[in-house]
Amino acid sequence: MLNSSLQQLGSALRARKISSVELTQLFLDRIAALNPALNAYITTNAETSMAQARIADGRISKGEASPLTGIPVAQKDIFCAKGWRTTCGSKMLANFVAPYDAHVIGLFNSAGAVNLGKTNMDEFAMGSSNETSYFGAVKNPWNQKAVPGGSSGGSACAVAARLCAAATGTDTGGSIRQPAALCGISGLKPTYGVVSRYGMIAFASSLDQAGPMARSAEDLALLLNVMAGFDERDSTSLQRDKEDYARDLSKPLNGLRIGLPKEFFAEGLGSDVALAVNAAIAEYKKLGASVVEISLPNSKLSVPVYYVLAPAEASSNLSRFDGVRYGYRAPEYGDLADMYEKSRAQGFGAEVKRRIMIGTYVLSHGYYDAYYLQAQKIRRLIAQDFTDAFKQCDVIMGPTSPSTAFNLGEKGDDPVQMYLSDIYTIAVNLAGLPGMSIPCGFGANQMPVGLQIIGNYFDEARMLNIAHQYQLATDWHSRAPQGL
């Protein structure tokens, strides 16, 4: 049951071979046993989850089930869920119980999915290793000395360790794809605007995008069918017709043109990762695809551009955490300014403060043009590179991350080294394109390697098709960490 696809679980539930209550209990028991070591979840609430499971069973018995009804899904703790503690991985919100549902949560609830719990994450989604969480680092289930990646590390770990059937993540610079790669699972960041950001605690509004994390492309398609769609409460949500993201899964790949950006295979890429990615490309050729070398000349600027724009937006987005209306307030303070300073100094962790300071600096009078405006201009150039590239190919492939999972504490002292672990993913957010990561082998240390697939705008169904065909031909995605 733990290794079943969502399709299989749904069928079993609807055939009454298992109840949602039993399935939910199975995962809750497993969480109770394994979470103390892995730390994938910040909050579980067995009572609420089981109540949802009972309602789901009722729907199923009445024949009103939809594909995800009764399936336990883990939610990244960045999504507000009514009645659930929603921390965003921060001391600032350690006691914040959300009074409303994020749009994504509402959609899962309507679909009858069971909220299994809130997964750990880097504080306010700022990090690539999950080490910035106020609730402690998440362990990589393949090697508990290693990081799971971040910021959606809790979700990636939970999926890989079979602590949920599937999970949600959010991706601002690679936060779905990089942990998916490091934990050996599949993850998809949709085109910016496909999934509503309403109720998703903002890090960098122009880059943030929610997406599914699961064990296969087929599962991702089912999840995205639930998550995607216009929401009038998010002005950047796109008004498009509903689509079935699973519709093209079984199409053959004959004639597919894969673009390989030469910049993604240059210095800095681990040789073991290169080996696995190249093997995957070879597999695609066998499936009928052709390969063309492309260039994304401005992609080398994506990390510096991102570390101007994302902190700029974050510095403003995080201003609401001031200790006045909700969240952490310092126990002792003098005047108003002192309350702000102490509450924020004590409530935020080091990485969050670093980014608030960078963002405040680049927006300051006299620096704005040189940093923020310049970065916006380069952002457009980076997007243009992709537009040009898609004239030569249907899809772009490359590594998701330059290395496999590194060890906990290994990059903690060097933020720039940490930032470089997102070097292949960030440009996709800057351009607003859809990107995904699927498992494609193992590195020298026997840790998973992720293949990144970047599609053109709104090409999610095609990308899922491309990933699914690979997963039919290989079994990397069905490998599970041992000893759990």
């Binding site: 994020a102 609401r320 300051s364 923020y372």
Partner: protein, 498 residues
């Protein structure tokens, strides 16, 4: 060099737009609710909430742009103005910065006569008008040593209207503020309630010798009455002149007006000014306004005060002064035009009544024209009775008083022209105010007076013309004021000159 002082004033006016919900969420904007009962998730800035622009606020901004002949930006951008304050829930205000929705408009103002200086017109340029959200309120009542925060007002839509420094006196500044106040109510985008803070002024004041470069300005914040605006500018200008004449310098700063002491007080200097770190709000798309949308809005605009004034002068033959008084508010003009539609040939007389009896009663009772107990149709019929000679002007005033505050409760005058005509006729009859136009009756009165005052008649006939008024007075008294004055004059003259 001219060593007199010139005062230079520019105004920033915050007009609260009259939408029923807030600018970026569905919470109500109604005034006076219990604290925080109109603060939804967006108003409180809960984690994860997002702004969605209220179309009604944009429509009102477009109307304002059209009414001031301004440029309406096809694309404008919302920006975040970042600063910390407890009544600013997000830690930033959503406003517009370098790309406002409205730019380069103008407003013609009527500056009233001041002593020996006659009234004049002036055009004030409007630099820009931009949309933004209001903040909440800090409450300093009894909160056990703490400050209370009421977020009902947070997110209320504002149009900030910025003028060029075109005004040269407090009088001009007040005239501009009043014209703007009239205009925003006229086009229905703001209720103009200054007590409730729906219309607030900040005044930028500097002084210079005529012809010199602009002096350093100080900004007086939050003036919520025309009187305070005038007092604050006058105080501030005199303070600046005094400072400069005593060898001091003016430092750019923000000041507050203390209306009790009638003086301005330093709030913060330029050095303490915030760096607001404006940047485009990534949660909102650029605001795009199509030419079609602008035309739709243009079609909803009423005739504007300036156009109406011009029409009153050219078509109705009223004076510019009359025209400006009658267009002081849309309600005033509506009243005038409703009455005029019944007596189209008596515009001047109607205008006189509106400015005379009607305005006097309204002022005395501190009422607005919409609260006037007399209806336009009643006033029109009444004036018509004067014109057709049925009653005299003074008799009409008695009827007017009755209509304003009826003493006979049973007399109900309806709404139709027929009912009103009948009702006023009944009133005239009841009060016996019918003007005597019967030549025989008047002749009889005149004959009696001439007979009883033979000495005065002799004096008159010997050349003392001034006595004519004396005889008119006696005759009027004898007729109980009902004699038709024109007829009486004719008959008296004829008989006296025998």
């Amino acid at each position: 060099m001219d060593m007199t002082w010139e005062i230079v004033i520019g105004l920033e006016v915050h007009a609260q737009l009259s939408t029923s919900s807030k600018i970026f969420c569905g919470a109500s904007t109604a005034f006076g609710a219990e604290p925080n009962t109109q603060a939804d998730a967006v108003s409180i800035a809960l984690p994860g909430v997002l702004p969605v622009l209220n179309k009604g606020a944009v429509e009102r901004a477009i109307k304002f742009g059209l009414a001031t002949g301004a440029h309406i930006a096809p694309r404008s951008v919302f920006a975040r103005k970042n600063y910390f304050y407890p009544d600013l829930p997000k830690g930033y205000q959503i406003s517009q910065f370098d790309l406002p929705v409205v730019g380069n408009g103008q407003l013609v103002i009527h500056v009233p006569a001041q002593g020996k200086n006659p009234a004049y017109e002036k055009t004030v340029r409007i630099t820009r008008a931009h949309l933004e959200e209001d903040a909440g309120k800090s409450l300093h009542g009894d909160f056990h040593g703490m400050t209370g925060i009421d977020l009902n007002r947070a997110g209320t839509p504002l149009l900030e209207i910025v003028s060029e420094p075109d005004m040269r006196s407090a009088t001009e500044a007040v005239a501009y503020a009043k014209a703007l106040h009239t205009l925003v109510r006229w086009i229905g985008i703001c209720d103009g309630n200054m007590q409730e803070g729906s219309f607030r002024c900040d005044a930028n004041v500097s002084v210079r010798h005529p012809g010199a470069a602009l002096g350093t300005r100080r900004e007086i914040k939050n003036l919520n009455s025309f009187r305070f605006l005038e007092q604050a500018i006058n105080y501030e200008a005199q303070w600046q002149i005094g400072t400069l004449e005593n060898g001091g310098t003016i430092h750019q700063s923000t000041v507050l007006f203390d209306s009790d002491k009638c003086e301005t007080r330093m709030m913060r200097s330029k050095e303490d000014a915030h760096d607001y770190r404006y940047f485009p709000d990534p949660d909102l798309l650029p605001l795009e306004i199509s030419p079609q949308w602008i035309e739709q809005m243009r079609a909803t605009l009423p005739e504007l005060p300036q156009a109406k004034q011009a029409r009153y002068v050219s078509e109705l033959g009223l004076s510019a002064y009359d025209a400006s008084i009658l267009t002081a508010s849309r309600e005033m003009a509506d009243f005038f035009e409703a009455a005029l539609s019944i007596i189209p040939l008596q515009a001047k007389q109607l205008a006189n009544w509106m400015q005379g009896e009607v305005s006097a009663r309204l002022n005395r009772e501190d009422k607005g024209i919409t609260d006037a107990p007399i209806k336009p149709i009643q006033l029109a019929v009444l004036i018509n009775r004067i014109a057709d000679g049925t009653i005299s002007n003074s008799a009409a005033k008695q009827i007017f008083d009755h209509l304003w505050a009826p003493s006979t409760a049973e007399l109900i005058i309806g709404d139709s022209l027929e009912e009103v005509t009948k009702g006023i006729h009944t009133l005239i009859e009841m009060k016996g105010l019918n003007q005597v136009s019967d030549a025989g009756a008047i002749e009889k009165i005149v004959d009696e007076i001439i007979a009883a005052n033979a000495d005065k008649v002799a004096e008159y006939r010997s050349g003392k013309d001034k006595l004519f008024g004396f005889f008119v007075g006696l005759a009027m008294k004898a007729s109980k004021g009902k004699a038709n004055p024109a007829q009486l004059n004719d008959i008296l003259k004829q008989k006296l000159e025998g």
